[in-house]
């Protein structure tokens, strides 16, 4: 029933298709891309959109379409792994805090407050600068800023669920704490988690783009949308509009898709909202 609801709304259906296209492009990059993304060609440098190069070429004569497709892989990988790390770490911490309570809860919550005290991007900026901007560090930087969101979310759900009788009943039947958490509590926390993760994916891609703009993005030759947009932005003034337009659109479409799907998922999965439908 959720599936139908998800596709019923025209907007979220379009978003779903957009996302599928991006994911497909990322997975099948080598076969979809017409050229080798790193193939330089001085003669074809900075040539505009043409049949030969549907999205034009950059300063080194590299085909933008191929780079865009390969970059999709990097961006999705970064977003996915950052969210996965944040989700994993955040949930375990949240579950621990929620379930254990007492000083463990207090300690974790104060740490979370401290990290949450920094606007996400500012912290990511600091961490990337400190650790250097290799791909792994960028993922770590984004993950760190997202951990608190999941920790609080899971802790909140955990406290709510723990109070419910059935958790009590499960405990009396003799299930071990970890077993209770996995079997009984986590499935219940699934809806908000999925919604939050989807929205976070979009946010992660934006953060990488912003980091690239201030020079802390992912290292060349790894092409990444944010970096391509940041570099392309400089060429708008000198007339090469295609260098910034297409990567910018790619970011916007993907982040838009993640946000819209996140929104619809929230409507679909969150019972409270369903009534209002």
């Amino acid at each position: 029933m959720h599936w139908r609801r998800l596709t019923a709304n025209r907007l979220s259906f379009a978003a779903l298709c957009a996302l599928l296209v991006v994911v497909a492009a990322a997975l099948l990059a080598p076969w979809v891309a017409p050229y080798d993304p790193d193939e330089t060609d001085a003669a074809a440098a900075l040539s505009s959109v043409s049949l030969h190069h549907p999205l034009g070429t950059d300063l080194y004569g590299r085909d933008q379409l191929s780079r865009l497709v390969h970059a999709a892989r990097v961006d999705l990988l970064v977003a996915l792994s950052a969210t996965a790390v944040a989700l994993g770490l955040g949930s375990t911490l949240g579950a621990l805090a929620g379930y254990r309570g007492g000083w463990v809860d207090q300690l974790l919550m104060r740490a979370v407050d401290a990290v949450m005290a920094f606007p996400a991007f500012i912290l990511a900026m600091g961490v990337t600068a400190a650790l250097g901007n290799s791909t792994a560090n960028v993922v770590a930087a984004i993950a760190i800023t997202h951990v608190p969101i999941y920790t609080r979310l899971i802790r909140g759900e955990m406290l709510k669920v723990r109070e419910m009788e059935y958790a009590e009943a499960a405990r009396t039947v003799g299930n071990r704490p970890r077993q209770i958490v996995l079997v009984h509590l986590l499935p219940n926390c699934m809806p908000p988690l999925v919604v939050q993760a989807t929205l976070a994916m979009g946010f992660a891609i934006l953060t990488v783009a912003a980091l690239s703009f201030i020079g802390l993005g992912i290292q060349p030759p790894q092409s990444e949308w944010g970096q391509m947009t940041a570099e392309g932005a400089g060429y708008v003034v000198s007339g090469e509009w295609w260098l910034v337009l297409f990567p910018g659109l790619a970011i916007m479409a993907t982040v838009l898709a993640f946000n819209l799907i996140g929104d619809t998922l929230r409507d679909v999965l969150d019972p409270r909202m369903r009534g209002v439908r």
């Binding site: 104060r110 991007f121 970011i251 838009l256």
Partner: protein
């Protein structure tokens, strides 16, 4: 326990967070590769000179000692020195905070001025064209990297149409700045009655505030829409309507008043987005605020400004959230008169 107790408790809670924040900001800059002493000494300095500077900066002492030196320095307003401007960081902050504050407030005004009505109207006219457009617009706003929107707006309004001013800071070159009272040029100009300066300040604020405001509008619009939807279904709205109050007064009076209260909470989150967006928007519009100052410090690995900027943002964020909680308490009688 009353409202006073609530305030005191919230204040006490802030202390551990602030300590955590100083630890994180200290750790961050300590991890920075590159030796700040060398930056100070310059490329051709001999190793002895570098050591001498390291000792004077206390970089050779154990970490806890350095942390304590750093914190006690903070309490005395010693935020270290900036390598790029050669001035104490505190002086740079005092010069630049008003610029960032003015941009942040203007963007907040834009976000609230456009975001709230959009949220309300799309709730009232649920699933109408307006509802879908505002949703896509809001989500689109968040989805577009702000440097992209910034450059786009600049390219169109400044370069093509010539309607917007050149990205040269906060005032036109030929306008004498008003006497500096608050540091917020718009306010100072208004207070000093400088018509020309006020117009120029607003004109320069136009694009940056739009870019930043637009980027943070989505969470606000979505929150207002969700709350408004919920309230429109509530019993007291039905009761007010049943009691004969005109539909419009019910929606834009009773319902809206109640919907605006939770909006206050989202302002805390939005402040975070604004501080983050500041960095990028200031770069694009050459806005002499803290954002750009921090990025230059990051690029030149200058610990003083980075530590202070990250700390400043965190402290502001903590106090803004505190202010938001208190404001929320004041606005909602259910909390005020526990």
């Amino acid at each position: 326990m009353g409202f006073g107790g609530y305030v005191v408790r919230r204040l006490l809670l802030v202390v551990p967070t602030l300590i955590g924040v100083t630890i994180i900001s200290f750790a961050l800059t300590h991890l920075l590769p590159g030796n700040p002493a060398l930056v100070k000494a310059g490329p051709l300095a001999t190793p002895e000179v570098v050591q001498e500077i390291e000792r004077s900066m206390g970089l050779d002492r154990p970490l806890p000692v350095q942390y304590w030196r750093y914190v006690s320095g903070l309490l005395h307003g010693d935020l270290g020195e900036s390598a790029s401007t050669g001035r104490p960081v505190l002086e740079d902050f005092r010069q630049r905070i008003p610029a960032t504050l003015e941009l942040t407030l203007a963007s907040l005004l834009v976000a609230v001025g456009i975001g709230v009505p959009l949220g309300v109207l799309s709730a009232v006219h649920r699933d109408s064209v307006l509802d879908h457009v505002s949703r896509v617009l809001g989500v689109g706003g968040v989805a577009m990297p702000s440097f992209w929107t910034g450059l786009l707006l600049l390219y169109v309004f400044f370069y093509l149409l010539g309607v917007a001013p050149p990205p040269l800071g906060r005032l036109a070159a030929d306008v004498t700045p008003p006497p500096r009272l608050t540091g917020l040029t718009v306010l100072d100009a208004a207070l000093a009655g400088h018509g020309g300066a006020l117009l120029s300040a607003l004109h320069h604020l136009m694009l940056p505030a739009l870019t930043l405001g637009f980027a943070v509008m989505a969470p606000l619009t979505r929150m207002v829409r969700a709350t408004m939807l919920e309230i429109l279904e509530s019993d007291y709205v039905k009761a007010a309507w049943a009691a004969g109050l005109p539909r419009r007064r019910v929606v834009y009076g009773d319902a809206l008043r109640n919907a605006l209260i939770p909006v206050i909470t989202v302002l805390g989150v939005i402040f975070g987005f604004l501080m983050a967006g500041n960095v990028v928007v200031e770069m694009v519009y050459a806005w002499p605020g803290l954002g750009h100052y921090a990025v230059t410090a990051l690029v030149t690995k200058d610990p003083g400004p980075i530590q202070s900027f990250v700390l400043f943002v965190a402290v502001m964020y903590v106090f803004v959230n505190l202010a938001v909680d208190l404001l929320y308490g004041l606005a909602d009688p259910r909390i005020r008169l526990r």
